[in-house]
């Protein structure tokens, strides 16, 4: 107790000295350390004040935040859906496959030695031989056209070698491998089964671009929502702004509380958007887990994790700040005492 007293006395002393110096009609001066502390203090006060204002009209504030949240949740949900789709697809057999259709007349021994030769090829990871009979059985099963095939005299299907290339990424190497296979005496035709992989990649790419485009449009929407909200705030505090300007408040000083309000709207909107996503994922994860387990997979929907939380809240806060800045810079300059 004694100690704190003496400390406060010591602190009080320099200001007492200052006091004696600055009497009379001298313009008040403040030193830089004071200015810095006061600037920080003002920021803290203004931040708390804008929070207080945000919750002073909870319904209106939450509505605005919800508009922002929905606008942000849409592209974020699309993005999350795509990420989950890619994860699901990655679990499947996404490897390109080369089907080598052999000549109808090829003898079994020759086919055997061709397959053995391919197995020893370093570019080939795996070779599966499908005899014409097996191919027919598979076709019957898959197509349901067994009766039609039964009417045919002979099996129209050729023997097939299914190759799994070792290097699946390098398109050039795949093409070389295909060209090599086409040179072989036993080969009738070669099909590089890349198409569906490519389609999938293109579809994902399409989805990515769609969500990016949507994100840009809706981010613009968020900025406009904040601009409009902050404009109304500024109008409602017109009197105060005039007085502050008359007693020497700079535009930056006047602008500050509105910037914090924008930040607040953005952050709350981002938070709500993340909660919306989380809710959506929780709603869907049950049925999806059931669906995937019925396929014997243990695939589960990935929720919006910490990165989404960070991205949405920080991104939305920045958008809010930007919107508030645009509105404040434009409208505060226009409010001048007359």
């Amino acid at each position: 107790m004694k100690q704190t007293q003496s400390r406060s006395q010591r602190q009080a002393n320099p200001s007492a000295e200052k006091r004696t110096r600055s009497t009379g009609a001298v313009a008040a001066r403040t030193d830089f350390g004071d200015l810095w502390r006061s600037w920080l203090g003002h920021h803290r006060e203004v931040a708390l004040e804008s929070l207080r204002r945000f919750f002073a009209t909870p319904m209106a504030s939450i509505m605005t935040a919800l508009v922002i949240a929905i606008a942000l949740a849409l592209p974020a949900a699309l993005q999350l859906g795509l990420a989950n789709f890619q994860r699901a697809v990655a679990g499947w057999d996404g490897q390109p496959q080369i089907s080598v259709f052999l000549h109808k007349g090829a003898r079994d021994a020759a086919v055997e030695s061709f397959a053995a030769k391919l197995r020893s090829d370093p570019a080939v990871a795996e070779v599966t031989y499908i005899s014409p009979e097996e191919a027919l059985a598979e076709f019957e099963q898959a197509s349901g056209l067994g009766d039609v095939l039964a009417g045919l005299d002979a099996n129209p299907l050729p023997a097939v070698l299914l190759l799994r290339p070792r290097d699946t990424q390098d398109n050039d190497k795949l093409q070389i491998l295909v060209a090599n296979l086409q040179q072989q005496a036993l080969t009738d035709s070669v099909v590089l089964d890349l198409a569906w992989v490519q389609r999938l990649t293109q579809l994902t790419e399409l989805g990515q671009r769609l969500s990016a485009g949507l994100a840009v449009l809706l981010a613009l929407g968020v900025i406009l929502v904040v601009v409009n909200t902050i404009r109304l705030h500024i109008e409602s505090r017109r009197e105060e702004i005039l007085v502050v300007k008359l007693v020497g408040g700079t535009n930056a000083f006047v602008r500050r509380p509105f910037l914090y309000s924008g930040l607040c709207y953005g952050f709350c909107g981002g938070l709500l958007a993340w909660l919306l996503l989380l809710g959506g994922v929780l709603l869907l994860s049950g049925p999806i887990a059931g669906l995937s387990s019925s396929y014997g997979s243990n695939y589960a929907l990935a929720g919006p994790g910490f990165s989404y939380f960070l991205g949405l809240t920080a991104g939305a806060a920045l958008l809010g700040l930007l919107g508030a800045w645009l509105a404040a810079t434009r409208h505060i300059r226009a409010i001048e005492p007359t």
């Binding site: 200001s15 006091r19 600055s22 009379g24 009609a25 001298v26 313009a27 008040a28 403040t30 004071d34 200015l35 502390r37 006061s38 600037w39 203090g41 003002h42 009197e239 105060e240 005039l242 007085v243 502050v244 300007k245 008359l246 007693v247 020497g248 408040g249 700079t250 535009n251 000083f253 001048e336 005492p337 007359t338």
Partner: protein, 228 residues
């Protein structure tokens, strides 16, 4: 302290509010500005407070040429002025204390210093016991005194008042004027626009009279001539 050199002010409407005004107000002077409404009193004060810019001529305030003042410098210039308005311009969403503290928080004054200065200003206008009240609860005279406390809290070198007694009865007006005289006594240059000629005569200070934008009288009223 305040120098006008051939100042003209013409509004965008083409109306000449001030015509070739030249005047000199020394440091520590107390001056009344009078004239009918529309004579240019308010325009002159708006020029001093940098709300308006002159169309022609030069204005020097505390050695600063207002013609050369950039818009971004205006707030810093105003921090050396105390401005009192007829409608006192108080904010009713905060306490008397916070109203008076406004010029200090704008200038970046620390908390401790701020409380001390606000109370000193409140003490001077005799409202120390009302700091926690909302100004809407106060009488007209008290509101005006809060306005004055806000104008002087930053210890300005110049105090400018536009019709500070406009809505007050003679007794209160007298008190308010005395308050300005008290600030003047400690060295503040005071400029008060008022049309209350009776009150001005009683104060026996220098009077500037404007008519249709021109300065038609500059001096201490002769009948009661007793310059201070």
């Amino acid at each position: 302290m305040i120098t006008f050199d051939n100042v003209n002010k013409r509004y965008a409407s083409g109306q000449d509010a001030l015509v070739r005004i030249s005047l000199e107000i020394p440091r520590g002077d107390m001056v009344f500005l009078t004239g009918h409404s529309g004579a240019g009193k308010s325009t002159l004060l708006r020029l001093v407070t940098a709300i308006e810019r002159p169309t022609k001529g030069t204005i020097l305030v505390a050695g600063q040429n207002l013609n050369r003042l950039r818009n971004s410098q205006v707030p810093y210039y105003r921090r050396n002025l105390g401005i009192v308005f007829q409608n006192h311009q108080l904010l009713f969403d905060r306490s008397v204390f916070d109203n008076i503290a406004l010029p200090l928080s704008v200038a970046g004054c620390n908390r401790r210093e701020l409380g001390r200065r606000v109370r000193a200003a409140l003490d001077k206008v005799g409202l120390l016991h009302k700091e926690k009240q909302n100004p809407i609860m106060l009488s007209g005279g008290e509101q005006q005194r809060v306005g004055i406390a806000r104008a002087v809290v930053n210890k300005p070198a110049i105090l400018v008042a536009d019709e500070p007694t406009g809505n007050l009865d003679p007794q209160l007006s007298q008190e308010i004027m005395q308050l300005f005289a008290d600030f003047n006594a400690v060295g503040v240059t005071v400029m008060v626009a008022s049309h209350d000629l009776e009150l001005i005569a009683r104060m026996r200070r220098r009077v500037l009279t404007l008519q249709a934008g021109q300065l038609i009288y500059d001096g201490v009223p002769s009948r009661e001539a007793n310059p201070v």
